[in-house]
């Protein structure tokens, strides 16, 4: 809880720091703020608190999810260097502040006990991201992405909100447990049809935010158009927060109608896996490939939600952690490689830009390879255990229920290997420019850190899993 309050204050503080006009102060200050929030967050470990008359709840699950969110934010901020193509017209303090605010929204989505908080958290996160998506003001693509993201996002918000209203109509409450007891307690008159419709609307809205098919159509354009730094931020933080919220909502409030949403979710899962992976194969831009890959990872995460076993939360946590670290690494390398040789003023994000990367900078190539291998789910990386835990929940639920989903998931992870390895092949096996790429010490440190984390978690997943 302290983390939410402190981050809101730090965000405002950051705006004031903007008067100093000095980026040298801003970046360390923001990193410090996030680290402080991270530490403040840990104070509540092993305690259960409920705040503001049942509005927010903190427990170990909240702390785990928010720690992942804060960690990814820390990494993203650490690799930030400039905002937009036009240096003197950018206001870094504001972007850092907006990032901190959006994290506040994400944390609220993780800890909500009341649908009001979920709605407000979701909106804080989304509105901040609309701004960040359009932050490269001189770029047509960034503008277009912001517009599309805004229109699609607020459309989803409308559906989501309407769903909440209907659920309120059926149950008379916004409180998660109260809704839960209505749904599973079974009122004498039977469950109101309003609840079913409301649940479906809420599901549609949430699935939209985590970009699951068929609600994913905005993802590629928005991820492609947004500045790469914020694409990395969006594809990790939103996904973690979204799945935390989705899981919490469905298990606390709607366990009673598991039979209904299980069917919907398995359908969506299969579709998401198929669409995400197969479309990713046909991309010629690495950034777009990563956008579709983020769709496909939403599919894997949905498996754990749909399975709903006692192990599901820890599976979602581990998967989000592994995915976030690897994705940030991938985007970090992409940022550096793409800006080496711009095409028509735009960064070159095609696969060809990675040709011969191993010669130009071995560290970049290696950390990229590790992150891609982790995303593909190959053993001895964190991603493998993520897949392992997710598949385990499904097998635990039973093959009659989840067998079909599992077979699709397994086949699609083979497809995943195909497009992830194209990047590795380009950087190790093809020849390209030989001009070395230089990296700053902080950037180097972050890459080494994420790579070490990915391999370390791949060797000893239990270190983190004991906490989950």
């Amino acid at each position: 809880m302290l983390s939410i309050i402190s981050l809101s204050l730090f965000g405002i503080l950051n705006l004031f720091l903007g008067f100093l006009k000095s980026r040298r102060v801003l970046l360390p200050a923001t990193l410090l703020f996030i680290a402080l929030a991270f530490a403040a967050n840990l104070l509540d470990w092993n305690h259960q608190y409920v705040y503001f008359r049942d509005m927010l709840r903190t427990n170990n699950l909240f702390i785990n999810f928010s720690s992942i969110i804060l960690l990814t934010t820390f990494l993203t901020v650490a690799i930030s260097r400039s905002f937009g193509t036009d240096e003197e017209h950018t206001h870094p303090a504001e972007y850092y502040a907006i990032m901190l605010f959006s994290v506040v929204g994400a944390l609220m989505m993780v800890g909500f006990e009341n649908l009001i908080m979920l709605f407000i958290g979701l909106e804080i996160l989304s509105v901040s991201l609309y701004v960040l998506t359009g932050s490269d003001k001189r770029s047509l693509r960034s503008n277009e992405a912001a517009l599309k993201y805004f229109l699609m996002g607020s459309f989803a918000t409308g559906i989501f909100l309407f769903g909440i209203a209907l659920v309120y109509g059926a149950t008379g409450s916004f409180n998660l447990s109260a809704i839960g007891s209505y749904v599973s307690g079974g009122p004498t008159t039977g469950i109101s049809p309003l609840l079913y419709v409301g649940l479906l609307f809420i599901l549609a809205g949430m699935l939209f935010k985590v970009s699951a098919a068929p609600f994913h159509f905005w993802t590629p354009d928005v991820y492609d158009g947004a500045p790469t730094l914020f694409t990395a931020f969006m594809s990790t933080v939103v996904k973690t927060a979204g799945f935390a919220a989705l899981y919490r909502l469905l298990t606390v409030s709607f366990t009673g109608v598991y039979g209904l949403w299980w069917q919907v979710l398995t359908g969506v899962t299969v579709l998401t896996l198929l669409v995400g992976n197969i479309t990713a194969v046909y991309q010629s831009s690495v950034k777009r490939m990563l956008a579709y890959s983020s769709v496909s990872h939403a599919g894997y995460l949905l498996i754990a939600v749909a399975a709903k076993t006692p192990q599901s939360p820890s599976a979602i946590l581990f998967y989000s952690l592994a995915y976030s670290i690897a994705t940030i690494t991938g985007f970090a390398v992409l940022i550096l490689v793409a800006e080496q040789k711009p095409i028509e003023g735009r960064p070159d994000e095609r696969y060809e830009a990675f040709n011969g990367l191993a010669k130009r900078n071995p560290l970049l190539a290696f950390s990229l390879a590790v992150s891609m291998v982790s995303l593909a789910g190959i053993p001895l990386t964190a991603g493998f255990w993520g897949k392992f835990f997710v598949f385990s929940t499904a097998v635990d639920r039973g093959m009659t229920n989840m067998g079909m989903v599992l077979v699709v998931a397994v086949l699609m992870s083979v497809v995943g290997v195909y497009y992830y390895f194209r990047v590795i092949i380009a950087s190790y096996l093809k020849t390209g420019d030989s001009e070395p790429i230089g990296i700053r010490p902080l950037y180097r440190f972050i890459l080494v850190l994420t790579t070490a984390l990915t391999i370390g978690l791949g060797l000893f997943p239990d270190v983190v899993r004991q906490l989950f």
Partner: protein, 482 residues
């Protein structure tokens, strides 16, 4: 403890090699492989010939999930550990006349590969087995893709996807089995053996597991990655693939498929056996038509491995014993043959049978070794191939007379294509390419001599190996009957 050293030594040596430069790289790599061999020889002699698992080590790896780092050596493992530790130093020695780009990476990858292979053959935990099984894929992929021929990127990528495709189904099968274990779940292979699964479960599991190993070996119709990969890879990678890595598939059949899903084997074993036998005939017939020597040996390897799979699936003592000894034999022979093709290629720049001929006039040593290894592959009595093929055929014959008869064609057909290869390349009229072929140099002799000795050693005294594996195999078959 010794087993752990066996796994870690090549890995550590690989990391050391990565930091070295110049000529010393090859020597350090060779030294490490020889120390590894010495360790394996020590284990070979210290091993008690019974069914127990020896030199075991167990360490709780992921305690909360019941996954342990559990390794040990029984008779079956021992044979394959000996095979891989014997071949790797020879493979490294065989590269002494070549200079590869980035040698430190090249040798580090070979050593990393060995580490993973020994891991596969000694793992006693299902997920550990899977980890090593996958980990072995990465180094060989990079060796083949970085130092291979013209189409290497496309071909090796196909190989990678293909084998990954197979193993991920195995992974799913293992996860399923893991959840069948009682209580807090464990992935100990012994616990998997003890499971009482229904026939229906076993039928599905059989295919999930079998496909992974069938692709690795490969068994017809999962072989399409193999010839191209063998041809496009640099010879050391081909040797690793054909000599050791395909044994991961046959080993998996013995270690995983037979004991865990005996009812599945009973239901689908015949189908799989028929596929293997088709592979024998199909591979042989294609081998007869090949002009490229490397491709010819690739297909011959495909045919031979079909017989090994058939022997295992026959579930008889003879079949299993034969296939185990044949794994050792085939590793030795195929590495030798690939090396000889590489020697000829290095002298003449050609592997085309039509453009070669008359090499023997300048090269008495090469000819002798070539013929010894060829006869070993053809399974002439007193050579190593004879023991394995004889037992294998007896096993398959015992299972089904007709299949045994068809599988028996392998001896005739392999004689046809191998004799034809030797005759066309070594004898006959000299061509422009073969006029100035020189005989073997010292390092080449040092590779071929141990191989030739092994051809006769196994051929004359197969019991040295068979007595080690027999208790383990007998126990395995016993457990399948339950």
């Amino acid at each position: 403890m010794l087993t752990l050293i066996l796994i870690l030594l090549p890995l550590v040596a690989g990391l050391v090699v990565l930091g070295l430069q110049g000529r010393v790289i090859k020597r350090v790599a060779l030294l490490a492989a020889l120390i590894e061999l010495a360790l394996a020889v020590y284990i070979f002699y210290a091993f008690r010939p019974d069914a127990s698992s020896q030199f075991s080590l167990r360490y709780d790896w992921i305690g909360s999930l019941g996954i342990s780092f559990s390794i040990g050596i029984d008779g079956i493992s021992l044979l394959l550990v000996v095979l891989s530790t014997l071949l790797v130093p020879l493979i490294i020695l065989s590269t002494f006349n070549h200079s590869y780009r980035n040698p430190s990476v090249f040798y580090a990858l070979i050593l990393a590969m060995q580490s993973a292979l020994v891991g596969v053959f000694t793992a006693k935990d299902a997920f550990l087995f899977y980890l090593f099984f996958e980990a072995a894929l990465i180094p060989v992929y990079f060796i083949a893709a970085l130092w291979g021929g013209e189409n290497r990127i496309r071909v090796t990528f196909k190989f990678f996807i293909y084998t990954f495709f197979g193993s991920i189904f195995m992974f799913l099968g293992l996860v399923y089995l893991y959840f069948q274990t009682p209580g807090g779940h464990t992935s100990d292979l012994a616990a998997f053996y003890a499971l009482q699964l229904s026939a229906e479960q076993q039928n599905y599991l059989f295919w999930a597991l079998f496909v992974a190993f069938a692709i690795k070996m490969p068994v017809f119709p999962f072989h399409t990655w193999q010839p191209d990969t063998y041809v496009e890879s640099p010879t050391p990678a081909t040797m690793l693939l054909a000599g050791i890595m395909l044994k991961m598939g046959t080993y998996g059949l013995i270690r995983i498929v037979l004991p865990i899903v005996p009812l599945g084997v009973e239901r689908w074993g015949t189908t799989a056996l028929v596929l293997s036998v088709i592979g024998i005939v199909y591979g042989s017939i294609i081998a007869i038509q090949q002009r490229d020597m490397k491709r010819l040996i690739a297909y011959s390897s495909f045919a031979h491995v079909g017989l090994m799979a058939a022997g295992i699936l026959s579930q008889t003592l003879d079949g299993l014993q034969g296939s185990l000894i044949q794994m050792l034999t085939h590793g030795i022979n195929v590495v030798g043959l690939f090396f000889i093709v590489d020697i000829i290629f290095s002298r003449t720049n050609s592997r085309e049978l039509d453009r070669l001929g008359g090499i023997t006039q300048n090269t008495p040593n090469l000819t002798v070794y070539f013929i010894i290894l060829m006869l070993g592959s053809v399974a002439l009595p007193l050579t190593n191939g004879f023991v394995g093929e004889f037992l294998l055929l007896r096993g398959v014959y015992e299972y089904n007379t007709w299949l045994g008869a068809v599988a028996g064609l392998t001896i005739i057909l392999s004689a046809v294509y191998l004799l034809r290869m030797v005759q066309k390349s070594m004898f006959g009229v000299r061509t422009a390419l073969t006029e100035h072929v020189t005989d073997l140099n010292l390092s080449e002799k040092l590779v071929l001599l141990p191989l030739a000795i092994m051809v006769f050693a196994i051929g004359l005294n197969p019991n040295a190996f068979l007595r080690l594996t027999e208790p383990a195999v007998a126990q395995l078959l016993q457990s399948m009957v339950k």
